[in-house]
């Protein structure tokens, strides 16, 4: 169980724009229920990526508060933040953030062994098989297609223990078929951990059975 609660949150650079908009998130008091699948629908420029980055504490330029387990995020110091990212929060970035010079398998393995491994390494092969990237696992990541890289990033995020999975347009480069495989895997992994997720995307979708859909 990992409580997530935001209070009057607004990123400082976007504040003038966001003050005049109706949003379920910005400048609101929101409690995210543990284990829920939450979709955040966000048109371009509404601060979708900014929101994910704020929750993951990649930036500090915000007003209001973000509470993880009732502790204001700004109070986490570097070592605590590392534990949070190793044990409680996993992420799929929109820009993927993979190491280009190492293989796909090494990118995934990195997240598996960063903490006490949650899965044995054979699970990497199982998941890669499921998402159709088993053949490229030993290829250098830099030469994989963006769609393949997106699936590498998804598997990487699922290698660790977590209570919340943050996803920023995670299927943008996947076709319908591959998206379905990926969503099935993600849902299965979240359920296994009794974890929730926050997924941001531009449009409505039916990838998952969402508990809650919010407008950014």
């Amino acid at each position: 169980m990992m409580h997530l609660h935001i209070e009057n949150l607004v990123p400082v650079p976007l504040k003038p724009n966001l003050q005049t908009r109706n949003s379920d998130i910005w400048l609101q008091d929101v409690e995210f229920t543990s284990g829920h699948f939450i979709k955040i629908k966000a048109p371009s420029g509404s601060g979708k990526t900014t929101f994910i980055h704020l929750l993951y504490h990649l930036r500090n330029d915000y007003e209001g508060s973000i509470y993880w387990n009732n502790q204001e995020q700004k109070q986490y110091h570097a070592a605590q933040l590392a534990i949070l990212r190793q044990q409680n929060i996993s992420i799929i970035f929109q820009d993927l953030r993979l190491f280009q010079n190492i293989t796909a398998r090494e990118n995934i393995e990195l997240k598996r062994v960063m903490q006490q491994p949650y899965y044995p390494s054979s699970v990497i092969d199982d998941m890669a098989e499921q998402l159709g990237i088993a053949k490229i696992l030993n290829q250098r990541t830099g030469i994989c297609s963006y769609g393949e890289q997106q699936r590498i990033a998804i598997i990487r995020a699922l290698m660790q223990p977590f209570n919340w999975l943050l996803m920023d347009e995670p299927f943008s480069h996947l076709d319908h078929d591959n998206t379905a495989k990926a969503t099935a895997l993600i849902a299965e992994e979240c359920n296994k951990r009794k974890a929730g997720f926050i997924l941001t995307d531009l449009d409505e979708d039916t990838h998952f059975t969402y508990h809650q859909t919010l407008q950014l």
Binding site: A78, I83, N101, I102, V113
Partner: protein, 397 residues
């Protein structure tokens, strides 16, 4: 842990250049080699100066007196303060007072075949300053033979100049020791005759020596002058070539056998050269440390993005620090070990070569060199640790 390190190694190595690491290692090796050599050379230098096998026993005793000038003419005695001050100097191990005889004396031979007569004066010195080991070197009132120690110089002078000009036979040390001389002392009450015998020859003090006990007795009995202050002292020193000693003597207008102290000038030059090698070594080392810390800094900077991403993905600062220390510190240990080994081999070769020149230094490297190597292991560890810590913290913010 092993898998984690392997992946990190892949990420960091591909980002940072191997060539740069190699260059930093070469720079540091050269500097360490120089500084360790400088320490070892200093140790060898001290060895050469102070070790027993390299010392000359004659050179350790110096007879010191005031320089006779027009200003101190007739007043060349050394005051108690001056003697005490001399004793206090770090380069002086002991000071012995040379007591001159204060009565007129002459010696002559009893034998008519070897007619010999000369006016003479004596000096005495504490037994610790005498280099003649003789059982006969003692005198007590009532004993009729006075033992004497003659300078080798006197015998040489006699054998190679005087005897030839006077048509007298040459004498060996053994023969001289067998001769009993007549020692005449002039007293207010008339001439007193005693017997004297040379019991040994010395190179240390160039005057005719008699036991202190006799000197005291005779001076009390026959002295014509009541001056008690000595004019000459003999000092024992570990190092007659010590520039500080020469400087002290000069500053106090004292003089000694210049032949024994002439090395002080060369010593000053060698000291200066060694000091310069220290300074160069230290400067080089500082540069080497700078190079290495810059190398770490550059490596971290060149894989800054990778480190940032690792932190974003959840790598703890400690995990990264540990990994980077494991990566950067072992080459340092390798460099230090290699430098110590090289200096060790050079030292062995140097010692063997010097031995052929009759100079003796240790075949193994000095503890100071090893100590310096250990010290630099510590310094390098600290430089590595703090540079890494600083940059990881910087990337974290």
């Amino acid at each position: 842990m092993k898998e984690w390190n392997n992946i990190l190694k892949q990420i960091i190595t591909t980002a940072s250049g191997r060539l740069r690491l190699l260059l930093a290692i070469i720079g540091l090796s050269a500097a360490l080699l120089l500084i360790l050599s400088a320490v070892q050379l200093q140790a060898n230098y001290n060895d050469l100066l102070h070790s027993k096998s390299n010392q000359d026993s004659v050179a350790n005793f110096l007879v010191v007196n005031k320089q006779l000038t027009n200003a101190n003419y007739g007043n060349t005695t050394l005051s108690n303060t001056a003697i005490e001050d001399l004793k206090k100097q770090p380069f002086v191990d002991a000071v012995g007072i040379l007591t001159p005889s204060r009565f007129k004396a002459s010696i002559q031979s009893y034998s008519s075949q070897f007619p010999f007569y000369t006016d003479i004066s004596f000096e005495s010195v504490p037994a610790a300053f005498i280099d003649v080991d003789s059982t006969q070197w003692h005198w007590a009132p009532g004993e009729d033979i006075i033992p004497m120690i003659a300078p080798n110089l006197f015998l040489d002078f006699y054998n190679f100049q005087f005897s030839l000009s006077q048509n007298l036979p040459q004498l060996t040390q053994e023969i001289v020791k067998m001769i009993v001389f007549k020692v005449n002392i002039q007293t207010p009450a008339g001439m007193v005759s005693l017997k004297g015998k040379v019991v040994g020859f010395s190179d240390r003090i160039t005057s005719l020596l008699i036991p202190e006990s006799f000197m005291q007795w005779a001076n009390t009995q026959y002295a014509t002058d009541n001056t008690l202050q000595p004019s000459r002292v003999v000092i024992r020193t570990k190092d007659p070539g010590n520039p500080a000693l020469v400087q002290y003597l000069k500053a106090h207008q004292l003089t000694t056998d210049a032949d024994k102290t002439r090395f002080s000038k060369y010593r000053q030059i060698v000291n200066m050269v060694v000091r310069i090698s220290w300074i160069t070594g230290t400067i080089l080392l500082l540069f080497a440390l700078l190079i290495f810390s810059l190398f770490i800094q550059l490596t971290i900077a060149s894989c800054k993005d990778e480190i940032q991403l690792l932190i974003i993905l959840g790598a703890a600062p400690k995990q990264l620090q540990q990994f980077l220390m494991q990566r950067f510190f072992p080459p340092n240990i390798f460099i230090i070990t290699a430098a110590v080994l090289i200096v060790g081999i050079l030292q062995y070769a140097l010692a063997a070569w010097l031995e052929q020149q009759y100079m003796f230094v240790s075949h193994i490297i000095s503890v100071y060199t090893l100590g310096t190597a250990l010290l630099f292991s510590g310094i390098l560890w600290a430089v590595n640790f703090f540079t890494i810590q600083y940059y990881i913290q910087k990337e974290n913010n």
